[in-house]
Subunit: 243 residues, 2 copies
């Protein structure tokens, strides 16, 4: 297990905040409310957003999704001291966008260790897309473009494997010569040892009380060095914590 894990760690790793034809977070709202328990407020971290809308506007997405649930959402940009905001948070949600930009910003603001301290002490952490990618050992299996240069690819390491969100199965009809997602992950394994789990849209992982579950509507492909690709069915997958 990684150094950034404890029996108290609570982590929800979501492939995508939206599935086709539904509103932001609506498909996962019940899971989110169950996951955060009685936390009255979520600290939202919008740093993955590369532009187009402001951090305030982006924070409005989960605020709207949680309207009527009794749970407030506050953006980290509204706190004078983001480290203190993380230390005091009742629950943390890191939204999607560009993984390189997210990681670079967390390093620049010196927030990696505060996040690790909060989460190993038991603060529930939810991440979607880029926000779930950074819960792994590295960002080496992101799908994003490297639009900025982070000081490292090392991620939060809440789990001892890597995540590929928005996992896409190869299209057998495709005439495109670019690498498939599975080919890219196999290439990752020529240079890296950790297992990689692909999370299809509508899937998520939940870590709590030292147990890990695959949840949602899909099975998930597990890529391991020197082993055949296999599909994990929804259910307990705690063996991945000992990988």
């Amino acid at each position: 297990m990684t150094a950034h894990y404890s029996e108290a760690s609570k982590v929800l790793m979501i492939s995508t905040s939206k599935i086709h034809g539904s509103e932001y977070m609506s498909y996962i709202l019940d899971e989110v409310l169950d996951f955060i328990g009685d936390a009255p407020e979520i600290l939202f971290i919008p740093y993955a957003r590369p532009g187009g809308i402001s951090f305030e506007e982006y924070t409005g997405y989960p605020q709207k999704a949680l309207t009527g649930t009794g749970v407030r959402v506050k953006g980290i940009q509204d706190f004078a001291d983001p480290k203190e905001a993380i230390a005091q948070a009742k629950a943390i949600f890191v939204g999607g966008g560009n993984t390189f930009l997210l990681l670079k910003t967390l390093y620049e603001l010196d927030l990696m260790e505060p996040l690790r301290q909060a989460v190993t002490a038991g603060t529930p952490y939810m991440g979607s897309s880029a926000g779930s990618n950074i819960t792994g050992i590295s960002i080496g299996t992101t799908n994003d473009m490297p639009i900025v240069y982070p000081p490292s690819f090392e991620a939060l390491g809440f789990v001892p494997f890597n995540i590929n969100p928005h996992y896409l199965d190869p299209d057998p009809q495709s005439k495109h010569q670019g690498e498939t997602r599975a080919t890219r992950i196999n290439e990752f394994h020529f240079q890296n040892q950790q297992a990689v789990i692909g999370l299809r849209e509508g899937s998520w992982l939940r870590l709590e009380a030292g147990k890990l579950y695959l949840k949602g509507r899909h099975s998930a492909p597990l890529f391991e060095v020197g082993k055949d690709l296999r599909e994990l069915a929804p259910g307990e997958v705690s063996f991945l914590l000992r990988s």
Copy 2:
């Protein structure tokens, strides 16, 4: 124009080494032979290959493609001194694979400056996929996974813009929530200023005698900060050298 350009620069930037249903390089062979002129030998640089086959085996691909043309292909791995191999090369071909691995290897072997010196002195340079991506200002518009951490994203800068090889148009039928290629390039432009040209499979750029041409079977999308997306028709696009 960038600092790594001269009127003598000859650069062939190819989207892909293979198009659907044809052998390696076959669709572009006439262009390659015309481009290298009377060079009797090509130096092949296989460093982008992340594994699966050896550098020797990979070098066999262009060797086979050029069989019967009178042009020899030698892999850089067969030279005791790769810097000297580049300095002495009659023509250079950098093959595709993983762009992060390619760039990291070139930095580690201290081959970025030797490549710039050779190309600005007139040695013809061909790149396919990752090998064309690194001819731009940065690798910030690669499609590849960041399987290794290079010391910089700065690329060779033979042209003053960025390239997105294997450009893919959005699929209007898709239900996938991951970003489209165009969305990703627009996100790049929230953080970077240089123009980006998308090269569809079967397209290439040719720089020679201070002029730049888009060639092949497709138009090419041009992304510029603050301007509407537009399609460039095949033909002279030298205005991009002054961007």
